[in-house]
């Protein structure tokens, strides 16, 4: 598949919270589709689903602090024709309730939409609250679609697209306060990567909150005459293989960057495509190394582990040496 559009402009200052966008969008589409139900586990205020609760109290379930029960209830609701949007933090959604997600939701191929907040290291609240393995875990589940929107506004488009999408979905957003990448209107399709910036010297494939960092790195590289292609790989599964293959063939050098362990997430997914296709190219995965990340704000941690704009820039220079 060919990338749909190329964006040359992005905002450096505007920040937005995907949680706010999600909350507003749910209240809006909740009125259009009676099948939609919203669940949370004592995190309504955090998930920003209060507007939906006010508008549709009968279709809103705050089950208390009980994530496993919540996933099971969502499975039951979906089994009987509802479209449940289930929210909690990424760590609790994917690990506490993992078997309910796998066996009750994925095995039965039910249209449950898990909107997981505080993905990656965005909480800064320590390893107990980090979702640093969620993409790997969710990607390994049959039937599951895995998405990490490329900027805080994109969640709105994902929610809209999700209504007609078959099977379960894992949608990972951050804590909030992430920069906006897309200033102009654009077309969003699940499973189709977006080339945010064109270039043929190397390709930076990023997902979620790191798309912005990849763009910043590309800007810096451009000043030195290095044209980096920046790809927003918002759908990690099913992966847009054609875009990956094309990037490898046209640039010969790929860096993946994600706010996630380097094992099993975006980097692994891209590496699998290249290996399966027998494509040899320069390649580097950026993300959290094999450790429990420390405490600190995301900017500090992204820098520490080398996948902020500076880290991506340095890795690009190194790769092209």
């Amino acid at each position: 598949m060919v990338a749909q559009e190329t964006f040359q402009f992005f905002s450096l200052v505007e920040k937005m919270s995907a949680r706010e966008v999600y909350g507003k969008k749910m209240a809006e589409i909740g009125s259009k589709d009676e099948r939609i139900v919203v669940l949370t586990a004592d995190l309504m205020r955090s998930n920003r689903t209060g507007d939906f609760q006010k508008a549709h109290p009968e279709r809103f379930f705050n089950v208390g602090i009980a994530e496993q029960n919540m996933m099971g209830i969502a499975a039951g609701l979906a089994l009987d024709g509802k479209i449940p949007f289930v929210s909690t933090m990424a760590t609790f959604a994917t690990m506490r309730a993992c078997e309910q997600v796998r066996t009750d939701i994925c095995y039965a191929n039910l249209p449950v939409r898990i909107v997981a907040t505080h993905g990656g290291l965005t909480t800064g609240a320590g390893p107990t609250h980090y979702g640093q393995e969620d993409l790997a875990i969710m990607r390994s589940l049959p039937n599951m679609t895995v998405i990490a929107p490329g900027d805080p506004n994109q969640i709105g488009k994902v929610v809209e697209a999700s209504i007609d999408w078959e099977g379960p979905m894992y949608i990972r957003i951050g804590r909030g306060g992430e920069p906006i990448v897309y200033k102009e209107e654009y077309k969003y399709e699940i499973g189709k990567a977006i080339t945010v910036k064109d270039g043929n010297h190397l390709a930076l494939i990023a997902t979620g909150s790191i798309v912005f960092h990849a763009l910043m790195a590309a800007e810096k590289l451009a000043k030195e005459g290095i044209q980096a292609r920046v790809i927003d790989m918002h759908t990690i599964k099913p992966l847009d293989k054609e875009t990956v293959i094309k990037a490898a063939q046209e640039t010969g050098a790929i860096i993946t960057a994600e706010d996630h362990t380097v094992f099993g997430g975006l980097g692994s997914a891209v590496a699998e495509v290249l290996a399966d296709e027998g494509i040899a190219c320069k390649f580097k995965r950026l993300g959290i190394p094999d450790l429990f990340a420390g405490y600190g704000e995301p900017e500090y941690l992204y820098h520490l582990y080398g996948y902020d704009a500076e880290g991506i820039y340095a890795a690009a220079k190194n790769l092209l040496k």
Partner: protein, 282 residues
Amino acid sequence: MADKATVERLKDLACEARKNILRLCHKGATHIGGDLSMADMMTVLYQYGMKYDPQNPTWKDRDRFILSKGHGAGCLYVTLAMAGYFTMDEVLAKYREPGSPFGEHPSGEIPGVEIATGSLGHGLSICVGLALAARLDGRQNRVFTLMGDGETQEGSVWEAAMAAAHYQLGNLVALVDRNMLSLDGETEKLMKLEPYAEKWQAFGWNVEVIDGHDIAQIVDVFDRLPPPSANQPTIIIGKTVKGKGVPCMENDANWHAGSIDAEFLAQCCAELDAARERERGE
């Protein structure tokens, strides 16, 4: 019955603990509501009820404590500092600094912290394991944990409750900070917990219900704990007020977490001191 001198000493310490909790909340956001509701039980636990040696945090015969409601890290740091594991200055200097172990949830790297917590509903199971290990080793130490009331909506808590009674773990003592609020609001409106004491009784526990802010009652409940060799675990349900001691925070879920400015900090500390003075005069 708790003697007056002990109670007065503990009340002074609890007042100091609250001021330290607020100082920390000024340094960076904490889960202030829950920190304040657990402060009295934590003070009596560490300054009266528990056996430990801050100079030797790994002493084998120490009583173990696990903060199952890990978001109460602020109160835990203050309690451990006042118990001598490190200084309050160190906590204030390091809280929420990049790379510091003193984060929003406690890290196992901190002296006196047995294990990292923060994901709710884990502590009681770990305590069952610790209590079994103590019994296997023939040690007389107790194992304590503190849970949030909302936390006990987690199914895992009841799996552990069943196991603790089944294994007849008299050396296990759980406390619940029953402040009637979780993050989104009232536990009884979100996911009803009552009849609460009866639930624990039905699970086979020795149940104590106290006012979790009445220092004398907390002392008394520790005094009458069954010996570690008893055949039943004990749960202490402390009826508390989220935000206790700061009037505008009391019983308000909006103060589940947050931070305060210097002016408000000074005002709160002055009010706490004044309230303590009035109490002393009574």
